[in-house]
């Protein structure tokens, strides 16, 4: 085995094709190994060098579904026994409407949806290309009533949530709002008034543009304090 070399600093902004490392590293997300053994970035993002793994944390990009993800969808079509859901992704979600009697434990009222309704759903299965199965048959899932939807870059969702929900807690407490973050970058919000909603929206833009600079939580926290001071 050849010697292992790291060619970038951890957390450095890297561009597609940039060589990150060579040697005995495992391939993490959004990297590839070229013919001469270099591990290169696939996307514009931050280099993430762990002991044995090289990855890129992307800074932008559309939402690609993963099993188990929680997404906020909009009902875009209802045809016969299926509900088609837009999840802001190249792939449309499908929710089969269960047949009443066969599954008694299913709450059929949940499936009484109209076009344009906003739902919280879980990605049940995704084959990577065409078939994307969603479910709302779980406590807490289903139609979202009231509130408003904001959007962030799907790539920034982990930053909006933060480590152990630290950022999300700041956002909720400072803006006195109920917030549900979908992995697809849609965010459901119920704020006491427009003032808090606008402050939250600005805070989200701040998270998007400053996510690569450390100390983000503190900056967002003091920004919201200032924004909502009077």
């Amino acid at each position: 085995m050849s010697e292992s070399v790291v060619l970038v600093k951890n957390r450095e902004v890297v561009i597609p094709g940039q060589a990150l490392a060579k040697g005995r590293f495992k391939l993490g997300r959004d990297v590839y190994r070229d013919d001469s053994g270099f591990i290169r970035a696939k996307k514009l993002g931050l280099a993430d060098i762990k002991e044995d793994t090289v990855s890129v944390v992307p800074l932008s990009g559309v939402y690609i579904p993963k099993e188990g993800d929680i997404v906020i969808g909009i009902v875009s079509r209802i045809s016969g026994s299926t509900i088609i859901v837009d999840i802001r992704s190249p792939y449309q979600g499908v929710i089969p409407i269960p047949r009443g009697r066969a599954t008694e434990r299913v709450d059929m009222r949940k499936y009484n949806l109209k076009l344009g309704d906003v739902i919280l759903a879980k990605v049940k299965a995704f084959d990577g290309s065409s078939s994307l199965l969603l479910t709302i048959d779980m406590e807490g899932l289903g139609k979202l009533e009231g509130g408003y939807i904001l959007e962030v870059e799907p790539a920034k969702v982990p930053r909006v949530i933060g480590k152990r929900q630290s950022m999300l807690t700041i956002l909720k407490e400072k803006t006195k709002s109920d917030i549900i973050v979908g992995n697809n970058g849609r965010i459901w919000v119920r704020s006491p008034s427009l003032k808090e909603l606008l402050a939250l929206e600005k805070a989200l833009r701040k998270i998007e543009t400053e996510s690569h600079v450390s100390g983000l939580s503190d900056r967002v926290s003091s920004f919201l304090t200032q924004e909502l001071s009077d």
Binding site: V13, I15, P16, G17, Q18, K42, P90, Q92
Partner: protein
């Protein structure tokens, strides 16, 4: 009737190799690249190169319409190169002509090898290039901008694609032909490379070159492309550096 009459300069290049805009044969016109100037597109870039002003935007990967175009195992890539009616001295009639249809195709083929299309099966990536002001070399400028827009959109790529034209004026092989050389020069050769391995993804030649001239032109093109690639990297990283500096309060 035309309000602007093109006049051929008496001398396209002097014996000492001075060109109509004062450049040396191997010199490039000034280039400026900016990323992310459009709000609604998933990725965008603006390039100013000599008198060229070109916008590129990327949407996707997104759902394919119409459905019969879906490729089950990879993303469909569509490209539209379009010239604005006010991009030329004489107003250009809106809508595609044979030239823009061909350029759309060669640009798509220049960019596609860079995209991990297999990562997005069943979807489409749309690339739109709008020439707002044209001044020779719009296709290579468009490739540079489109490549930036793809990266800005967060699409998985093997590397960036950078592009430059070279040409021949008399006995001189020249870098980045200007308008006069484009009109009255002897050969024009736009080229693009995927920068990960420096393989050529766009190459067209219009006009004869000897083997020696051709080798020189390829080499000159590659060097120019390497230079443009550095500018692309800088353009992609710049917005993040600007934010970092302002956050940290460093002047």
């Amino acid at each position: 009737m035309p309000l602007y009459v093109e006049k051929k300069p008496e001398v396209l290049i002097t014996e000492d190799g001075v060109r109509t805009d004062g450049r040396k044969p191997y010199e490039m016109r000034p280039v400026r690249m900016t990323v992310g100037i459009l709000d609604k597109a998933d990725g965008s870039a603006f390039i100013e190169w000599g008198g060229n002003k070109i916008l590129a935007a990327v949407f996707g990967p997104r759902e394919v319409h119409p459905k019969h175009l879906v490729l089950p195992d990879k993303a469909l890539v569509r490209t539209r190169y379009n010239m604005a009616p006010f991009s030329t001295p004489e107003r250009k009639r809106p809508g595609p002509d044979r030239r823009s249809v061909e350029l759309s195709k060669v640009i798509r083929e220049a960019l596609k090898p860079a995209i991990f299309v297999e990562n997005y099966p069943g979807s489409v990536i749309d690339i739109f290039i709008e020439v707002l002001r044209s001044d020779a070399g719009t296709r290579v400028a468009g490739v540079n901008a489109a490549s930036l827009a793809l990266a800005n959109a967060g699409i998985a790529m093997r590397g960036l694609v950078a592009a430059c034209a070279v040409g021949r004026v008399g006995d001189f092989v020249v870098c980045d032909p200007n308008h006069d050389e484009d009109m009255w020069g002897d050969a024009d050769m736009p080229m693009a490379m995927l920068m990960e391995d420096e393989e050529i993804t766009l190459l067209q030649t219009d006009g004869p070159m000897t083997e020696e001239q051709f080798r020189e032109a390829l080499k000159l093109g590659r060097n120019a492309i390497r230079f443009l690639y550095e500018m692309q990297k800088e353009a992609l990283k710049r917005p993040y550096q600007v934010v970092e500096r302002s956050v940290r309060g460093v002047v």
